[in-house]
Symmetry: C2
Subunit: 136 residues, 2 copies
DNA sequence: GTAGACCTTCCAGCATACTGGAGGGTCAAG
DNA sequence: CTTGACCCTCCAGTATGCTGGAAGGTCTAC
């Protein structure tokens, strides 16, 4: 009774990242080296999908791949943590919460800008000209 | 009655970025070219502090410097926007809100991990050894 | 008038996180 | 038994966002 097993391409489509990125993640210790077929193909278990999702989420939360790898390593041991490990997880949590505050501020500012703009009349701009405000 | 004017070093300490970064931001059109003294020194007005804060916040929210520059350019015109400009601002807002969701998920996962760890007994680890779970 | 802390430009290099491509093996379908 | 879609490794290159250093000018303070 093993779960579903998939090759790298299928994991890639399931997670929305490329196969190259998955190999890169393995090299960076974000994903454990998977089983291989006799011919050397990587075979992943369904569990890997959640792990990739965690990586992507943590990345969007502003953590570096290195930090994410460390958090996952902590999670993987399931062992009683020493103080350094505990503090590390708490540090990452603090990072995320700080970013959360920044994000809320930025959202507020963008909403303000949007509302300010929508209070003005639309100006004209044909779709084949690049608008003044969006010039490089 | 002009506001306070400061040189680049003072703006740097006021905003917590380096003078190099401020020059880089200018080059990337995140900051408008400031006035110069007769000898060529950049002179910033107090207003620049908020602008740098916006850039940092928007960066933490996952926007690229290019996107931030575009948003600021829109904000700067104060003009009625064409549809492209409006959509651009709305797109950035959508980016931020998506990241907000990711961030909340990641925070929840980190809190879970922290709680799970704190339920276990502390293990020992002297401060001059690197803990098993934090190995490179 | 010179030391020191500023400031200037320019150009090179770095860390992070991929991305592309060469060169080649695997495998099911026709 | 070959075509095509996969997979493999390895190595180089790219985009973003800085960062360092050279080479030199400025400005206050003694």
């Amino acid at each position: 009774m093993e779960g579903i097993q998939v090759l790298i391409g299928e994991l890639a489509t399931a997670t929305g990242v490329t196969a190259k990125t998955l190999r890169f993640y393995e090299q960076q210790h974000l994903l454990p080296p998977p089983e291989r077929t006799a011919s050397g193909y990587r075979v992943y278990r369904a569990e890997a999908i959640g792990r990739v999702a965690f990586v992507k989420g943590a990345q969007a939360a502003g953590l570096t791949l290195r930090q994410i790898a460390e958090v996952l390593a902590v999670r993987d041991t399931g062992q009683a943590p020493c103080e350094h490990v505990s503090r590390h997880v708490n540090d990452r949590l603090a990072d995320v919460e700080e970013r959360l505050r920044d994000l809320l501020t930025t959202r507020r500012q963008l909403v303000e800008l949007r509302d300010r703009l929508s209070a003005l009349n639309r100006s004209d701009c044909t779709s084949d000209t690049i608008c003044r405000a969006l010039q490089p």
